[in-house]
Structure formats: structure tokens, C-alpha cells
Amino acid sequence: MPNRYPGIELATRIVMKNLGIELVDMEGASCCPAPGAFGPADLFTWRVLGARNLSIAEKKGVDVLTVCNGCYKTLYEVNQDLKSDPELRERVNEVLRPLGYEYNGTIRVRHIAEYLHRDYGVEKLRGAVKKPLEGIKVAVHYGCHLMRPKLRRELGDSERPHLLEDIIEATGAECVEYKDMMICCGAGGGVRSYDLALSLTLTHTKIKNATEAGADCMVNVCPFCHLQLDRGQAELKEQWGVYYGLPILHYSQLLGLAMGIPPKMLGFEAHYVPVDSFLEKLKGII
């Protein structure tokens, strides 16, 4: 997120400040590391580096908040694995202790979407919206690792969830149903870097279906999905000669607009698909 879409970082920082939630930086944190793109290289190392990141937050005595499904999967599941398996925790700590880190299992890992939904509350969120995005049609993209695997989450049904719809509709926007809404963006599991053309087939399906359903934009909660859905449209144009131009927004950016934060502070210039037409639609609102 900070190295490709800094606008998502800034939007998150501003939005959370406005909601009265203090964010604390995890100085010296590394990549989570990526569950699908890094994990298969060695699952033990994946857990060691994940635990190192968790220990930084533990030292500060704060829970971890992510704005990314991939980080959520890694940090949530590593936390879960190490909390429940003392032997594994010890093996991980044997690597970390000489480096000045120790995992103790004292904190929780949260995703901004489920945090806002379950802890902050949808009604309160609606109250924080200054410019309701009325008339805006949003295609929801959950991504995979927020809700799945459901047996390793506590967020309920992953087939027809409503968690994101609830917090998106709190902004005043309307969610539109589209075919294959719950499928992957195509990027996960390292597929984007393993076989770009293959990954783009899923991206195309999603973007096409959302466009046909009349969406004004697609909202995600993961910078990696964001990259695939946004840059992927430029790649589809280049490689397949098809272009949809569907603006892609991270939820923090959408909420930012609804809170009246000027678009120029939301980092849209890093986007491959221009959001100008979308902002044009918001003209009377923001």
C-alpha cells in the first residue's frame, strides 16, 4: 500500500483521525509477508516474519489494523497459529529472540472493514458522513482473504456476506449486484506475477460484469486487488484491446470522499484508470 498507492495510506490516516481513532505506526515493519506470493517459498519463514511484525505491535500494546486482505490473512492466521500452538511459537521465537523480537500472543489483528462494522458501528459511521454519496452505484469487491476461509475467521457466511455493503451504504452510496461478485480479482496466490494473462481473465470477468450492472465504480478493501483491478484494466487494454475505464477505489478513499476530504488528498494520480468521470458525477455532492 505505501509503495504503490500512497493515497490509500493517506486516506486511511485522515479518515481514522476524523473518526477519532488513533493510528500508531509500526516502525520497522516489513512486508506482512504476502501469503500467496511469499508463503509457498517456506511457510515457517512466512510465520517468522509475520510474527516479527506482530511483535512490533505487541511492544506498543496495540492491536494491528490492516487495510489489506493479504496482510490480514498473513497476520491474522499467523497470530491464530502461534496462539494455539506453543511448540510452533517457541520455534518461531528461537529465531526472533536473538534479533531482539519476541512474539507473545497478546494482541488482535483487525481489518479496517470488519473493525468499522463490528466495533465502530455502521450507525456511527453514517453519522460521520458529511457528504452522502447519493445516486452513486458501487460494485463491491470483497477480495478473498477478508472473508475466506470462513473456518479461520469469525465473520460469518462467505457466500453472501453483507459486511462491505453495510459500510459502503453508510456513505450514502448504493451497492449494485453483479454476476460473480464473490470471485477473486485474479491476482492472488502469486498468479499475477506467475501468469499475468491468466490472472487478467478473472479481472476481465469482474470488470465487465460490474460495468454491465451499471456500476459507477468498484470499491475494494485490499491494495493488491486494487492494483489488479486498476492497473489490470490498463493491461487488458494493451493486451486484449478491451477497455472499460471503471474507476477503482479503496474503501478508505470512498469514505474519505463522503467525509468531504478533497479528492486531491486521496492520491488518485497513482491510479491507472482515471477517476475524473467519477468525480464529475460527485460534483453536486462533494
Partner: protein, 192 residues
């Protein structure tokens, strides 16, 4: 000509009847898969819900049920297949498995075993190399540095990018496990 012979005449059907000889079964491999975190897949009753649910299966030759079956039988050649790397780990098969088997996790375990056998996709080596070198799978670039400054963010995020000592601890951790030797070193020629 019997019905079976007629079907075998059609080239498209031939692959369906690929003969697998029991001499190809490697019980040791099946044990390694089981002991590496995919022990429960022996319970798979081959219903095919995974394959039917797989979004990538619509566009790729990946057949999740087949991957699981090959692992259970001890068919080590599954590790050399391209399709093993087509899974986006979306978890739909895991969520829909009537036996609640951790299907997606089993695939990741098999990828890890493939890496240990030397089947290291260049992209995996590159990403692990980036994490070793920068602490990030996606390191910063000049353009984003400028955008961060323009937005009023710190030019570098408060991560390993800003703390060299923290990066060093990541590198030491990676050297303390097997990953440096198996992936970073071996993967180097492919890094671009």
C-alpha cells in the same frame, strides 16, 4: 467396437483415461505431504465441489480434485505441474468442501514441497529476493517517493525502508531459516 473402445478412439477422450500405474505411487511422498500440514486430505472423497467452485478452473487446466488425488496417491509428478501455480488461493474450495478440508492450504503446502524439489517459479524467487533485499515484496520507486512527498506523507514509509536495522533483522531471520539457501540463493539467476 465396444463403447469404451469408441470413446478411446476420440483423441479428446483419451486424456480422461490416462493410465496410472501403482508403481508410480510413492508412499513416502504421500507421507511428506501429510506431515507438512496437509494430513487431512486423505479424507477427501473426490466429490469435486472444489473443482466445480474454482474460478480459475474455468479458464485454466487446474483441477483441484485431481491435485488432491495425486497427492493422496503419492504421485510426486504433481509437484512439477504448471497448474499447481494457477491457484489464486481464493479459498472458495476450502469454504465449500463438505468435509471442511483445508484444500487451499494443502495446495500451498504442495507448492512449498515443489520449491524444495527445485521447482522454483522465477516470480517466487524474485518476490522472496525483494523481501530479503528491501523488506518489501513491492519496494518503493522514484515515482511513488515523489507522490508521497506531494501528498505530505513521509518520503519513505515508516517500515524497513526507513529503518536499516529492522531490515537487517529481516535478513538475519531469513538466513536463520532455510529460505535464504533454498530460494534466495538458488533463485538468483532468475531475478531480473
Amino acid at each position: 467396437m465396444s463403447e469404451l473402445e469408441q470413446m478411446e478412439e476420440k483423441p479428446t477422450q483419451r486424456a480422461v483415461f490416462e493410465v496410472i500405474r501403482s508403481s508410480e505411487f510413492d508412499p513416502e511422498f504421500a507421507k511428506v505431504v501429510a506431515s507438512s500440514g496437509a494430513d487431512e486430505i486423505v479424507q477427501c472423497f473426490q466429490c469435486g465441489t472444489c473443482t466445480g467452485s474454482c474460478p480459475m478452473g474455468r479458464v485454466s487446466a487446474i483441477r483441484t480434485r485431481q491435485i488432491i488425488r495425486m497427492a493422496v496417491l503419492g504421485l510426486k509428478k504433481v509437484l512439477a505441474t504448471d497448474e499447481l501455480w494457477h491457484c489464486t488461493t481464493c479459498g472458495t474450495c476450502y469454504d465449500r468442501c463438505p468435509r471442511d478440508l483445508k484444500v487451499t492450504e494443502a495446495i500451498v503446502v504442495m507448492r512449498m514441497l515443489a520449491v524444495r524439489e527445485g521447482h522454483i517459479p522465477p516470480n517466487l524467487a524474485r518476490i522472496v529476493g525483494y523481501v530479503y533485499q528491501y523488506g518489501h515484496a513491492v519496494p518503493i520507486n522514484e515515482e511513488i517517493r515523489n507522490l508521497r512527498k506531494k501528498l505530505g506523507l513521509s518520503e519513505l514509509p515508516p517500515t524497513t525502508h526507513s529503518y536499516p536495522q529492522a531490515l537487517e533483522s529481516v535478513q538475519k531471520a531469513m538466513k536463520a531459516t532455510s529460505i535464504y539457501e533454498t530460494v534466495v540463493e538458488r533463485g538468483k539467476p532468475d531475478r531480473g
